[in-house]
Structures are given as structure tokens and as C-alpha cells.
Amino acid sequence: MSGEGDTDDDAQRAIGEDENVLVRIASGEQAALARLIDRHGHGLRVFAARYLGSAADAEDVVQDVFVSVWKHAARFDPVKGRASTWLYRITANRCIDARRRRSLRAFIGLDDVHDILADEDPRADARVGARQELAIVRDGLARLPERQRMALLLRAVAGLDVPAIAEVMGASAGSVEQLLVRGRRSLRGHLTTVQHTNEGHEGTSR
């Protein structure tokens, strides 16, 4: 029981730190912004990169998010939700905008459609490639419908629970659960199919 209480206290402390940092940012303290980037920059960037399928686009989006937070930190209302949920909501909206812009550019022929992390750090590719299962999950993730992918990434990368994901995506908890169920089912299906195919190839090559 006391352990649970401690966990709750710890979680409250973490939430409190983010809120405190946002108050300091609203008063114009750049060190507080640096602290917020230190705490959430990595998570937001991973989320954006996997959602957009481009590390370069994700970098632009995350920069834009933190500049926006710097300008509008005073708008954060702790009564409405956690600071991390607010940050992921801004990022999700910016990602949707970026994706629309990219689709438009591709439509009018200004941009080639390349939905892969081509400009990603190759070391990361090599690291992930070392574990075939993770590579298949990444491939499956990239093939998911956008909202399913977003819900799964918010759950897995941002560690948000269903109500928080619903808040980020502007959807009901029920529809988020549906998105998660469908996304996981599709990913499992993709994993099974690719693994069976690979086993088949290995069998024939022998």
C-alpha cells in the first residue's frame, strides 16, 4: 500500500515539475525552456519522427512546438490536464499539419513522396536492424492508418493512458481503445505474415 502511495507521490512530483517549468517559461526564463526540452525533447522527437516517417520533418515540428510553448506557456491550464499531455497534443497537431503540407506538396509535384526515415541516423537503423522483429514492427507501424499509428505511438512512446491519448487526439476514450485494438491487431498480423514469409524463404533457400 505504501509502495502505491509512494508511486502516486512520485508521479505527482513529476507532473508538478513540468507545471513549475511551464510557469517559469511563461515568466520568460530561458533556462526553464532548456529544462523542458531536456525532459521532453527526446520523447516528442521520437513520436514525431515515427508518426511522420521523417527525422528531418520531426526536428522541424519539435522546434516549432517548443517555440510555440515559449510564446504561449501562459495558456497552459493544469486543471485541463498534464503538461506532458499538453505538449504531445501540440506536437500531434503540428504533425498533422506537416503531413497535410507534405501531401499537398506531393500532389502539386513539389515533393517526392518518401515516407521513410531516409535521413535518419544510420546508426539507429543498424541498431534496430540487428533485431529483425523490431525492423518488422517499424515497417508495420509505417503501414498503419495515421490515427492508429498515432494512438499506438502515444501509448508506447509517450506512455500515455487511454484518457490522455483521447485528450491529445481530440477523440473519445472508446474510439481510442478501438484504434489501439485495431492497430495492435494489424501489427500482429504484419509480424506473423512477414515472419512466415521469411521462414518460407529460408526453407526454400536450404
Partner: protein, 155 residues
């Protein structure tokens, strides 16, 4: 994650892992073999962890921070940065400018095409009544005056 990285993160975010921001928290929990208390049990947790591990990539927070601070500094030095009030007036100013352009275009159109209204009205009326002389359009049919002369036997 390695033990060394875990120690570095402890110095960065404190000893209490549950208070760390995502995704460092999940990474440390996976490294330490701790269960994720916020999620359910079983296959979904396993798949979520696979998604998490598959999503991980190298990021450089100090560089990101530097880039953001440079961008903020650049924006502060921009025109609107010197006049904070102007920032809030941007939308009304844009609406007023658009309205002014719209009115100017209307007035210009009136002054350019206005003097020709009488002639245009006559031409439209002539077309409507089928008068080729007034309209200037030769339909190949006799005019009303010619029809009168024909009927009275002058032509």
C-alpha cells in the same frame, strides 16, 4: 540502455525512475525488468514494448535546445519582436488591409467602367429587343423600319 546510461539519467532526472519523463522511464523500466504499471497485462504490453523499442532513435537534446534558443532569439529581433503590441494587432490589421484593398478595387472598377454604363445598357437593351442597328450586331433579318416599308409597298 546500459548501466552507465542509467546512472547518467539518474543524475539528470533524479533517482526516482517513475518520475522520469517518457520515454526515458519506459527504457529504464525495460532495462531493470520492471512492469509498466500504467498498462494492462499480457500480449498488448509485449507489443507496446516492441513498438517502443522499434521507435527509439538517437536524438541530440543540447543541439535541439541551441537551435530553438537561436530561433527564439531571431524571432525576438524581428520587426514584431520590437513592438509586442503589433503582434496582437496582426489579425485586425490583416482584416483592415484586406477590406481596404477590396473597397479600392471596387472603386477603381466603378471609375474605369462607370462612364460606359449608359452605352452598355443601350447595347444590352438592343440585343434583348433584337435591334441590329442599335446593338451593332447584324442578324441578317430586316429591321423594324424596313419591315414597315416592305409592308407599305415602298420597297
Amino acid at each position: 540502455m546500459t548501466g552507465e546510461e542509467l546512472e547518467r539519467l539518474k543524475r539528470r532526472f533524479g533517482a526516482d525512475i517513475s518520475a522520469w519523463p517518457a520515454p526515458y522511464r519506459q527504457e529504464a523500466q525495460i532495462f531493470l525488468g520492471e512492469p509498466d504499471e500504467t498498462s494492462g497485462l499480457g500480449e498488448d504490453v509485449r507489443l507496446d514494448r516492441l513498438v517502443f523499442e522499434a521507435a527509439l532513435m538517437e536524438t541530440d537534446e543540447p543541439t535541439l535546445t541551441r537551435q530553438i534558443l537561436v530561433q527564439i532569439d531571431r524571432e525576438r529581433r524581428s520587426y514584431f519582436g520590437f513592438f509586442p503590441m503589433m503582434w496582437s494587432l496582426r489579425l485586425p490589421a490583416a482584416v483592415a488591409s484586406f477590406g481596404a484593398v477590396f473597397i479600392a478595387a471596387g472603386l477603381a472598377g466603378y471609375f474605369v467602367a462607370g462612364p460606359g454604363y449608359g452605352r452598355m445598357d443601350d447595347a444590352l437593351l438592343a440585343i434583348a429587343t433584337g435591334d441590329p442597328i442599335a446593338s451593332g450586331i447584324d442578324t441578317g433579318l430586316p429591321s423594324a423600319a424596313e419591315e414597315t416599308f416592305l409592308e407599305e409597298g415602298f420597297l
